[in-house]
Amino acid sequence: MDNQLKQFSLQFFKELGAKISESGDYLDVSDVPAKFQKFYGKNEPYKIVFDKNLSSVGELVAPESYMLKMMKAYLDNSGDAVLTSLNYKLHVDSFVKENLKMLNCTVVKATAEASHNFMFKFTFQTTYKYLNEEEKLINEVFVDEGLVVNPDLSKFTVSNTNKKDIDITELRDYYSTAKENIKSSINSKTNRIAAELDLRLSKEIERVSSYHNQQIKEIDEQLTRINSGSLKSKDPIELERQKIQIANEKELFIQNEQKKHALRLNTKLITTAIIDYPIYSVEVFFKSNSGVTRLVLVKFDPLKNKVDLPICDLCKSSLSEIILCNGNHLVCRNCGTRCEDCNEISCETCLRHQCAVTKRRICKQCGRVCIKCKQFKNKRFMDADSVGRSFVCKNCY
């Protein structure tokens, strides 16, 4: 805790632009802006200490110290709205290696380009005040595309940014979403404190009730004695009036006790941060073993750790490995099949034809259509014409 307090104090006075030097158990702080000195009510320089035993030599910064309270109060109207950037360094090669298994191809080239997305972070402070106690809670709610999310920010660095092309049209809707989320998350604590207060309040009500009831009982006894003739010095009408007065007073005192034991709950928004985070479009240029090439686009959202893998050109399923068919298609294992001639992977689209001679299914690379008989046959049964541009099967040649 001491270290946290020290770091906090260092950062605080650094933000103020003060001069800070560390010496042993304390910080010497000078050049503190006059505004803070006035706010704190004491002139600089300050010797900031963190150990209660040293409080006589300087300004104590500790959980219940006045200095910490004033530092906090001084920050109250600052940092309400923040625009920040989550920085993430994408290593494209590693990313491709980790996310794209390749069955029949290799990566020729991979590049990545970042686009920007915005998420909202609402920081709420909930204060419970009751009797002479005060408890404070801090809750952060992240809202991304209208939904409450729970992102892992540990792999990011955060920095201020000056991007102004942010879309804040949904800000208030997102705030409402966050507000509802907070309400439900503080419920259990509210109920626990209320139960404790109930217990104490019931004791006070018991005291008040017992006192007033006893008073009424005593008056009733006097009235009984008046009725029996053993008490003559009292006026029964006056005693009845007193009973009403006591009953009224009892109500008043109970109400007062209820007020004293009330729980004052206040949740307020202390900071709204718009967080800019990157989404990457990774372009990977693959080349198959048979020399076919294909450009593939992969989307990566590092905040949600979500990779939008390419899909099979045929069945549209997400591809866990890259299979490049001889006909330039990206296929999955289900949709890919091997050419019965060259044994290279091809797909159903590309293997539609059988060789008219061998009756085997062969890929486009292995077969040709004879320009004369119009039959699809294995290249082995073909000859090129004199120009070499058209193929004629040996039967027709």
Binding site: S65, S78, A81, A194, N266, K268, I270
Partner: protein, 598 residues
Amino acid sequence: MAIIIDESFSDDDSLVLEKVEQKKFGSIDVANLKVDAIKLEKNTELNGLVSYDLVKDNLTYKLPHQTDGALHILREMNGSALLADEVGLGKTITTGFVIKECLVRGFVSKVLILTPPSLVDQWVAELNEKFNMSFKIIETESDWDNCDLAIASIDKVKIYDKKNAKFKHSKAHEIAWDLLIVDEAHKLKQRNTTRWKFVDRMQKKRFLLLTATPFQNDLIELYNLLHLLRRGHLGTIQEFREKFLFRGNKRKPLNPLELRRRLQEVMIRRRREETGINYMKRIPKIEVVHLTAEEKKIYDSICDLLKTKYFAANGDELRGKLIIYAILPKVTSSSRSAVESLTKIAESDKYHSETRQIAQDIIEAYSKLTKDSKIEKLIEIIDKVLKNDPDAKILLYTKHPTTSKYIIEKLSPYNLKIVEFTGGLSREEKTEKIARFKKDAQIMISTETGAEGLNFQFCNVLINYDLPWNPMSVEQRIGRLDRIGQTRDMQIYSLATKDTMEEHVVDLIINKMCCIGLVIGELPTILFNLGLDGEGKAGIAKIEEMLMDSFIDSKNNLELFAQDVKDISKMIQKGIDEYNDSKLASQEALDGQPVEAI
């Protein structure tokens, strides 16, 4: 069922959102600091006083019983208690901590202190100097408007307007006070008084009653006090009588242990021996000044002038008490201040020619004097003190700056190290002079306004060159020395001119009031109990006014004046006896052991 007041999501949230919409963005580091600060603050436990750091530099001593007491009141008693510490333990400081802590933690915003009239200024000064809190003094009804930190003389505000059947200051009852404090609360011992009813009617969330003597003659007084604080805590009056009242002795509880157990739940009471605080003795030393025949003649002439030959220009007799009240202390302070006042009379055409001539004659008589017996007596005292203790520090008081200058002039041939301390000094100048007095100087010559609220516990000799006729002013003078930290008995020298009214006044104020073994804080309580702590009709302290009136009415007859002083003395003694009684009764019932009376 506990009430939950949900003040969440106020318009302030909108202000934050607006900043986002207006793209007024701040630094992420500041935002993080803001959140860190909240997280670092310990919030639930009231384990220590946050306010202590803030005020520690203003306090001469850290006395654990004061901070512990405040913490106990807040934590264990929810801010409502009977603070019945013995006199001299600093109930004001403990209360100051309670208020400051509540304000700093944000528990309270509206605080009212009801005190005896004579203590209003003292409270305001202490809370301001030690706790940096500015309390507004309630004088008129309109003062209650928009007043968060208020202090009022209970005697002033409790007045009941029978004609309109309401309290004159009923506005006080319309305000929901977060914290109400009543000082010298033993005066709330009777339920049928307007004082009790006024306090009972207040809306108060936290309530502190301060008194060292919760009851005097009858345990019912204690019941009434606690009835105000916490209804039913001691049962109904009938139950209380049955359980705790001893037939035949109204001061002795029937079940003392049970009563004490119940009291402990709502009362804090510490005794001096528990805290290790000891007050030293005040040793009065009246130094009689024997005037020479010439000086006595001048003195009598001045008295005669003011009593019988004091006429306006048109011949009307001037009996304006206020004028005499203003002139009399000056002419009796020193020959220099007397000449100064007489010169004003001699030179002013507001006075009758005969009056002016008499004044002129006295001035001339002064100029022919070859001896100033009072100054010689002073030199004799200083010589005696310094011979006895060469390191002694002497605090010399006079009412008038003219006299202060005169004394310095007269002491100059004696090579004494003197610091003059008068009103109008800046804080830095005061600090410098106090440091000089503490380190080098032998004598500090001060006027009342100069040393108000300052601590000189390193000094144990006080000389009253002249004496205010208001005992509380004298008490304030002695109070500069008689504080926690004083380690030696104090010698209180007072100069009294033989065969003058001063001789009687000094005897009354020093020997019968200020130096009779009372601890600081007890005399104001006694005067308050007697109804003598307020201002009289002429706007000065009641006792001072009584003495002045007697001076005027006695027409230069010293015997008549002496008789009046004797009557006042008897009245004071009665108050002291009653106070001792109540102290004894409180100690017997609350502490369980009898103590010796003064």
